[in-house]
Symmetry: C2
């Protein structure tokens, strides 16, 4: 969309995704309007932050009644979503890969997992949570055939580097990397390194900080 | 430790955790020294950023030979880790909970999962990946008994709010929340909301951005 403002900060994009999920559940509950301070309270941030985020994407609201839930959902979706559903593939159908696949199945998002890849003969050729599992050898061929744009990397950390080249060659545009191996891709491929250990060590550090400060 | 600098930025803490994992694998490979630009290359950042992070924690190195890997591992550990191993519990032993448990088992981190909790009678009373699974009813009792400090929340999003009170009452100090429900806890409890959908929608957004900019 030509009217989408550029250079929206990453953190704002994250919060927009979070606001939308909250708004969707408000909508399910029949709530038609919500105030910025309510949205802020749910997300543990300030109303100023909420208003700033929505101002950044050019959304203004009737402050008397609060934001119109349906309108705001549509507006955020017009910013976040592509016109067409985005096809994803999961590489590595171990426990994490299967957890993620189950998690997304039937969530009705604009993102849908259309294929998974593994090298385990027990998994290859079967459907796991209604998603066909193919051998990694067929990755490049199927990425083109199934118009896959983004991959979720949930293979063992030890094998993470082996899939980098196939991902590049297949023309994948985005990678969500769950392995403990930081991966570098050429400019033009969006990579989100999303390591659970790091987040947990971060929580543990700030817990220790609080204790040291006798909080 | 009294000499730990306070107010280290969250992002620096995250990178320190990532540096340490890289340094540990360097150490396994028999590499004794590493230059900041090498560390930077692995993590896709600038050498200036690496040096700034290490300066922030008061670490300086012989730039002729680069950083001493063993010394730097010990130094980062002295910042990140508690003196004693931190006991974790997983709430919700569905696919994600089991994936996380398997992921951490035998990783030899300072963080160890000592118990899991669920309400599914099929799981309760069994060992899942060598971790005993208890009924959520026994949460507060066992948190004290097993000295559990941090919980990993991998229950269904629908039930996330039901565990907030038990977590507070049990005196849990940190929460890593994998549900799609943002949770608020009283000051003094560290919360990391870590929703997969958000990260994926973020990747999808920046992929769309790149396409719109014909990258």
């Amino acid at each position: 969309m030509s009217n989408i403002p550029n250079n929206i900060p990453e953190k704002t994009i994250e919060r927009l995704s979070e606001y939308r999920r909250t708004l969707l559940s408000c909508h399910e509950q029949g709530i038609t309007h919500v105030f910025s301070h309510v949205l802020a309270g749910i997300h543990g941030i300030t109303a100023v932050q909420v208003r700033r985020d929505l101002m950044l994407i050019g959304f203004s609201s009737d402050t008397k009644k609060g934001y119109d839930v349906e309108v705001l959902i549509r507006f955020i979706s017009s910013i976040l979503d592509s016109r067409n559903p985005v096809h994803l593939a999961v590489i590595g159908m171990g426990h994490l890969g299967q957890a993620i696949t189950k998690y997304f199945n039937g969530k009705g998002l604009n993102l849908c997992i259309v294929a998974s890849f593994d090298i385990d003969p027990v998994k290859v050729g079967t459907d796991i949570d209604d998603i066909p599992c193919f051998h990694m050898d067929r990755f490049e061929e199927l990425v083109e055939e199934l118009d896959i744009n983004i991959v979720i990397l949930s293979c063992p950390t030890e094998t993470a580097t082996e899939v980098v080249l196939p991902i590049i060659n297949a023309g994948i545009k985005g990678v969500l990397n769950f392995t403990s191996k930081p991966l570098n891709f050429p400019k033009g491929i969006v990579v989100e390194n999303y390591d659970i250990t790091t987040l947990l060590e971060k929580v543990a550090y700030f817990v220790k900080e609080n204790e040291d400060n006798n909080l």
